[in-house]
């Protein structure tokens, strides 16, 4: 990105004009579908179905929002997903940080073997069925913990965290602390954790988004409607068109609702994605940095 203001050659000027156009087109292609969802959610469903909504909302209204918020299932899903996300992310962080610190200590006996065994799981696994049997035999089927434990740690994030700690917390720091009688546990709690703010922010985002968007574990292990996470409910409504009409008895409203279905879907997408889309720009600096740690160390 422009380091010096020197006069550009003719080729470079042409380059800049062409690439600016290309980048603008990319911006349009990436942003338009997202923008369209927003305008579609406020638009009249009839005009939407006719394809008349393109650049601005037509027939501005909140009907889709009203009906969406009246849907009980959505709230159950939302509530469950918040629980899964909070507990799951805490478990992820606890396992990742402790293990990453331990593995970052070069004197740890058996460190290389352990690291190899962990990395190996990134490339090879037992498969869907043995894992299903394991979860069943542990008595976790249809249990809250089946959404948490099978993904409690990930080899990739563990390795990224280890590299971060290795390169950010110099070993001299521990040597100095040891002189003062500080043990490994105290050092971890009082020095490593406070110095790993960026890492923790980045991991929280990765794990949190992972839990928020998790679908597969619920598909495999959860049968009870009361425990369904948001994504399973979303699938029913968005992809299988099972929008519950139970709470509506007024026939007029029922016909209107059939038309409203499309708007409701757009609203659902917004309501379900908003927490994530609000949080990530705030943490952008951290995860960009985090991705780069991963890239430098391979």
């Amino acid at each position: 990105m422009g380091k010096k203001k020197i006069k550009l050659s003719k080729e470079d000027r042409i380059y800049h004009i062409i690439t600016t156009v290309i980048l603008a087109v990319i911006l349009l292609i990436v942003a338009y579908p997202l923008y369209f969802i927003i305008i579609a959610s406020f638009s009249d469903p009839v005009l939407l179905a006719q394809g008349k909504v393109r650049l601005i909302p037509k027939g501005f209204n909140f009907l889709g929002y009203d009906r969406t918020f009246a849907n009980q299932n959505l709230f159950i899903g939302y509530r469950n997903t918040i629980c899964y996300t909070v507990v799951g992310t805490c478990v992820n962080l606890a396992l990742t940080m402790t293990a990453a610190y331990a593995l970052s200590v070069k004197e740890l006996y058996g460190r290389r073997v352990i690291m190899f065994l962990i990395t190996f799981t990134m490339y090879f696994g037992g498969g869907m069925i043995p894992k299903y049997f394991l979860v069943r035999d542990l008595g976790l089927l249809n249990n809250f913990w089946s959404m948490i434990l099978p993904g409690a740690a990930s080899a990739y994030h563990l390795m990224v965290a280890r590299s971060f700690i290795e390169s950010n917390i110099p070993r001299e720091l521990y040597e100095a602390a040891e002189m003062d009688g500080c043990g490994r546990l105290t050092f971890f709690r009082k020095v490593v954790l406070p110095l790993s703010g960026t890492l923790i922010a980045m991991l929280t985002l990765f794990f949190g988004v992972g839990h928020w968007n998790a679908y597969f574990n619920a598909l495999m292990y959860i049968q009870d409607r009361e425990k369904f996470p948001l994504q399973v409910i979303l699938r029913e409504i968005l992809l299988q068109n099972q929008f519950s009409l139970d709470d509506i008895t007024d026939p007029e409203l029922m016909t209107a609702l059939a038309e409203l279905q499309n708007s409701i879907k757009y609203v659902m997408i917004i309501v379900s994605s908003i927490p994530v889309l609000i949080i990530y720009p705030l943490l952008q600096k951290h995860f960009v940095k985090g991705m780069m740690i991963g890239s430098v160390k391979g």
Partner: protein
């Protein structure tokens, strides 16, 4: 082995053991910190690998995994000689190689363009916006595809109709499925996948660029001779890692996008495993399919890694 040498090795062993004991005593707190995670990997990653032997047995619910009869490669040969093998393998390879070939250059090009963008603010906005799709869940992503490409009211078909005068049923077309899958994947991953290349580009020594500017190099020449060689190791490492997933086409998106109309191109190994195992309860057969997939993937990874190590000195292990 003579008695003497055996004594010697035993002596060495006990010495090593003693040393290990000292090290352990010094670092027991670290092992304590490591323990929960090790338990996790042992239980949830390595135990299922052991359990994968169900693929070599004829699973009977009454007998359990360990009591069922050992049948060797029966399920593997049933899968390989079965009627769907060719089709599924072709679909899986089509999706993954298509994604790899088309999906790799775009984030690299995007990163190169951003890197030389003159307006820092424009580049920042572009980055933030381009990351957004990555955070959309698969369910929502597939719903968006369904809605945008719907033949009745989809916005894409509104434009298609304006140009060609007719609508096209994208979701119901087996021919369109791979394109839809790959290009929506590019839309979703463009910004996110470029982060790693942007990182690699910023770590290139700026003096190289300055020297090139002094020598009168144009931007295109600098991209060719400074940027691309600079990020090549990163590109290769990522290619190796992706090569290890050539048969591992992500389950969720394909599963959610497939319907009765496009199933001839939308059935891949992972969805087939799920249908055979979880929906039809053919546990042994399904595990055999899964294990076949993992073994092939791992073999490809090792081969690509070895070649790369010889040719370019870049490898992941």
């Amino acid at each position: 082995m003579s008695k003497k040498t055996r004594c010697l090795t035993a002596g060495q062993n006990s010495q090593r053991f003693k040393k290990a004991k000292i090290i352990f005593r010094k670092n027991w707190e670290l092992y304590l910190l490591l323990l929960p995670t090790l338990l996790f990997f042992a239980i949830f990653c390595y135990y299922p690998m052991y359990g994968a032997q169900i693929a070599f047995r004829d699973f009977k619910i009454t007998k359990g995994i360990w009591g069922s009869e050992w049948v060797g490669l029966k399920h593997f040969s049933r899968f390989i000689n079965g009627p769907y093998f060719g089709q599924i393998l072709k679909n899986t390879l089509t999706l993954s190689i298509y994604s790899l070939l088309v999906g790799t250059p775009f984030p690299i090009l995007f990163a190169l363009l951003l890197n030389h963008c003159r307006s820092t603010r424009f580049a920042k906005i572009l980055q933030t916006v381009s990351y957004a799709p990555h955070f959309i869940s698969t369910v929502v992503m597939v719903a968006m595809i369904n809605m945008f490409f719907s033949p009745q009211s989809g916005i894409v078909n509104v434009f298609v109709k304006a140009v060609t005068g007719d609508t096209f049923n994208f979701m119901g077309s087996p021919e369109a499925f791979p394109h839809l899958y790959v290009w929506t994947g590019i839309w979703q991953g463009l910004g996110w996948n470029s982060i790693i290349y942007i990182g690699a580009l910023t770590s290139i020594n700026p003096e190289l660029h300055e020297a090139a500017i002094v020598d009168g190099a144009t931007i295109i020449q600098r991209i060719r001779h400074v940027d691309i060689p600079g990020i090549l190791p990163t590109v290769i490492i990522l290619l190796i890692m992706n090569a290890g997933h050539v048969l591992g086409v992500g389950f969720e998106k394909v599963f959610l996008m497939s319907n009765s109309l496009n199933s001839s191109t939308a059935e891949v190994i992972s969805t087939y495993t799920y249908k055979m195992g979880m929906q039809q309860a053919q546990y042994s057969f399904s595990s055999a399919v899964d294990l076949f997939n993992s073994v092939i993937n791992f073999t490809i990874l090792v081969i690509v890694n070895t070649i790369s190590k010889k040719v370019s000195d870049n490898s992941i292990f």
